[in-house]
């Protein structure tokens, strides 16, 4: 039989547009797999010539799912352009906003996008394998998902005025102080959010046993891991240094300054993707392949910082003697981070200065270069700007969470496809598993290419001459 390839396009229930091509050998077994991202929007260029003060609002438009992460990394880069330290209250308000976004984005990924696979099964009818199908079969869980996401989105709205693309985070701090009323509203919502987070975590842990095959094959291989840690090596999403660990859990670099990212992160170019493939320079390419995001963050830290999350983290770490390697556990890590975020939000709101009116430092730019970092729900993002003497942007480089995971996602797709896909007998459930690998990373392709688009899903088997041998449609 001639060599064939299978294309999955688009992948559903992820954000943005991507496709997967599976290359089969003569026996119809998967030989190679490629995860492609298609399209582009061009943020690095059209920010040129814009005043730096506009950049946070412009850059937020990269992504409608994690606009707050871009807003924060961008504003931090602008703080550096100003050359000021921002008021502590402003930093804490930004932290709360960032954590609220982590909750809503993780909830969207877990409940709306992935939980239908866990609940209804990877082989379930795709017509009901979605959030609306869940609302019919498991209304409580669907409601929990909606509620938990609402908790995060509502905080963003109460603090910043609107849920998507708020303009509240600005160079030098935030635009306005927190109202006592907003603080009390958030605190009142904490107990319900926490109850949902904990019962979901219990349910998910109990159901892990049913996914041993997926755990074994969904991107289960050694890589490095990278994420921000605070000065005590604790879980951190707003500031701090970047730590890199290896598969055995050994710390390779105990925290480099994110401003020096170019010394540590190289970008390799692969034929199959529009995305560049970042790697950890000291380890070389491709050994320097690393993962970021919830799984990586829980792997690199020494502690979780908040009491309930700390217990869960200890249990999570016990899964493996070294780093927890299977990308299926991204889901697990996401739930633990939700618990941490809710605890941290409550703690920050209890800070005596949180209602302080001084939330913005004023200055004219003192530097021509600024680099800002934050942990987005999907991993580390870095915004790097250069400005001229008029404060106009003259160059921008953006390193985006999904981009870091590019190499690992490709390898994961290949691993799962080799295990599950038999090219001679295509079944829906096989292909859903290949898509589910990608969903475990919760990639945000709007972010990674600053672009997207979508098609009806079609999987085609092509012979060597390009003729369609078989076809599956959804």
């Amino acid at each position: 039989m001639a060599r064939r390839s299978i294309t999955l396009d688009p992948i559903s229930r992820i954000e943005g547009h991507a496709k997967i091509t599976l290359h089969l050998n003569e026996e119809g077994r998967v030989e190679n797999a490629m995860f492609h991202v298609t399209q582009f929007r061009g943020f690095e260029r059209f920010c040129e010539g814009r005043p730096f003060s506009e950049l946070p609002s412009l850059m937020a438009r990269i992504c409608g799912i994690c606009p707050v992460s871009h807003l924060i990394a961008s504003a931090k880069a602008c703080d550096e352009l100003l050359g000021v330290g921002i008021p502590e209250t402003a930093a804490n308000l930004r932290r709360i906003l960032n954590l609220a976004q982590l909750v809503q984005s993780h909830a969207l990924s877990f409940f709306h996008l992935s939980s239908p696979d866990f609940l209804l099964g990877m082989d379930a009818d795709p017509a009901t394998r979605n959030i609306f199908g869940m609302a019919a079969s498991r209304p409580q869980l669907a409601r929990d998902g909606v509620k938990l996401r609402q908790f995060g989105q509502q905080i963003i709205e109460w603090m910043a005025g609107k849920r998507i693309h708020p303009a509240w985070v600005v160079a030098g701090g935030v635009a306005s102080p927190l109202a006592a009323e907003a603080r009390d509203q958030i605190l009142a919502a904490v107990p319900e959010a926490m109850a949902i987070a904990l019962r979901t975590l219990e349910w998910f842990k109990a159901s892990l046993a049913g996914f041993s095959e997926e755990i074994r094959t969904f991107g289960n291989f050694p890589t490095l891991f990278m994420g921000l840690v605070d000065s005590e090596g604790g879980l951190e999403h707003y500031d701090g240094v970047l730590r890199v660990t290896d598969a055995s859990g050994r710390v390779l670099h105990d925290g480099f300054d994110p401003r020096k990212y170019a010394d540590y992160i190289g970008e390799a170019v692969e034929k199959f993707s529009y995305l560049k493939s970042p790697y950890y320079k000291p380890a070389g390419y491709p050994d320097g392949i690393y993962r970021v995001g919830p799984l990586a963050r829980l792997n690199v830290v020494d502690q979780c910082g908040t009491p309930r999350a700390a217990q869960e983290w200890a249990e999570f770490k016990a899964l493996s003697r070294g780093s927890v390697l299977s990308s299926f556990y991204y889901h697990y890590a996401r739930l633990i981070e939700i618990v941490h975020a809710i605890e941290a939000i409550e703690r920050l709101l209890g800070h005596p200065g949180i209602l302080d009116k001084r939330v913005r430092a004023a200055a004219a730019p003192n530097n021509t270069e600024g680099i800002g970092v934050s942990e987005a729900p999907r991993g580390t993002i870095i915004h790097h700007y250069r400005i001229d003497e008029h404060g106009l942007c003259r160059g921008a480089n953006l390193i985006i969470a999904t981009g870091h995971n590019n190499l690992a996602m490709n390898r994961s797709v290949l691993q799962a496809a080799k295990h599950f896909v038999d090219g001679n007998h295509l079944r829906e459930g096989m292909l859903n598993r290949v898509e589910a690998v990608i969903r475990a990373y919760d990639p945000c392709l709007s972010c990674s290419t600053h672009a997207s688009g979508r098609l009806a899903l079609r999987i085609q088997l092509l012979d060597a001459g390009g003729a369609v041998v078989d076809e599956l449609r959804r």
Binding site: E44, L58, C63, G64
Partner: protein, 257 residues
């Protein structure tokens, strides 16, 4: 009345507008009761074939492939509604319409030759007839729910097209343009955001695009009297709705001045 079959399509965008559908938390499950959402790749793996009674389209047209796809989408949809600044005005990526797109691609991508992109990012209405548009970056949940309930009731949606100024007055905001001399786009921008930026003491930056009968010439003169340069005026009109004809004209006039 049978449940209308609804589809949500995405082109070049950030996903924020379709997420506004999921943001209707309290109403989300109620929406699922009255509408049959049969195509929504962001949220579901089902992608049932058309025809659809209502098609919501997010994003702008930036590739040859998308230019063809929007034709198919149009044929499948009874009512076609564009949602957000990308779909109605080309979005922020339309800023490349004034630049050399190949230059853009080379800056960003490892394999520029892999990128097959159009020179321009254009709104949906430049390709197919559009029945209704919901504005904003992103759209407002209120407008979306109003559109859905009006359609179900068979009446015209009550979505105001006046300027942000009217809303500002209703909110009792102090005018940031007059009182603080900020270059506010409110006088020419359609309402819908609840005058959010002026409420926070910031100048409006035009998320909802041109209001009905926007007087951009008068605003340009006002900006000049505040001391803005021609470049600054052009930039004020060039954000998320830069390719709407009103803002495009205003920015190009300022550039020529």
């Amino acid at each position: 009345m049978a449940k209308p079959r609804v589809a949500v399509f995405k082109f070049a965008s950030c996903d924020g507008c379709q997420l506004s559908v999921l943001d209707c938390e309290d109403e989300l499950l109620a929406i699922a009761d009255v509408l049959d959402i049969v195509y929504f790749p962001e949220a579901t793996s089902t992608m049932l074939k058309g025809p659809y009674d209502i098609g919501f389209v997010e994003g702008s047209i930036t590739t040859h492939h998308d230019a063809e796809r929007i034709q198919q989408v149009r044929r499948q949809c009874g009512v076609l509604v564009t949602i957000g600044a990308c779909a109605t005005a080309g979005g922020i990526q339309a800023l490349r319409n004034w630049a050399d797109v190949n230059d853009y691609v080379r800056t960003v991508y490892a394999h520029p030759d892999y990128i097959q992109t159009l020179k321009m990012s254009t709104p949906i209405a430049e390709h197919v007839p559009v029945d209704y548009e919901l504005r904003g970056c992103p759209i407002s949940k209120r407008d979306l729910l109003e559109f859905i309930s009006a359609t179900l009731a068979g009446r015209k949606p009550n979505i105001p097209t006046e300027s942000v100024c009217i809303q500002c007055k209703r909110c009792g905001n102090v005018c940031v343009l007059v009182a603080r001399g900020l270059p506010c786009m409110g006088p020419v921008t359609q309402t819908g955001c609840g005058a959010l930026c002026p409420r926070y003491g910031r100048a409006c930056y035009g998320c909802f695009g041109p209001s009905e009968t926007a007087n951009t010439g008068a605003l340009t003169r006002q900006f000049r009297s505040l001391g803005l340069t021609d470049d600054e005026i052009a930039r004020a009109f060039r954000t998320f709705n830069a390719w709407s004809w009103q803002f495009r004209q205003a920015s190009e006039e300022a550039e020529r001045a």
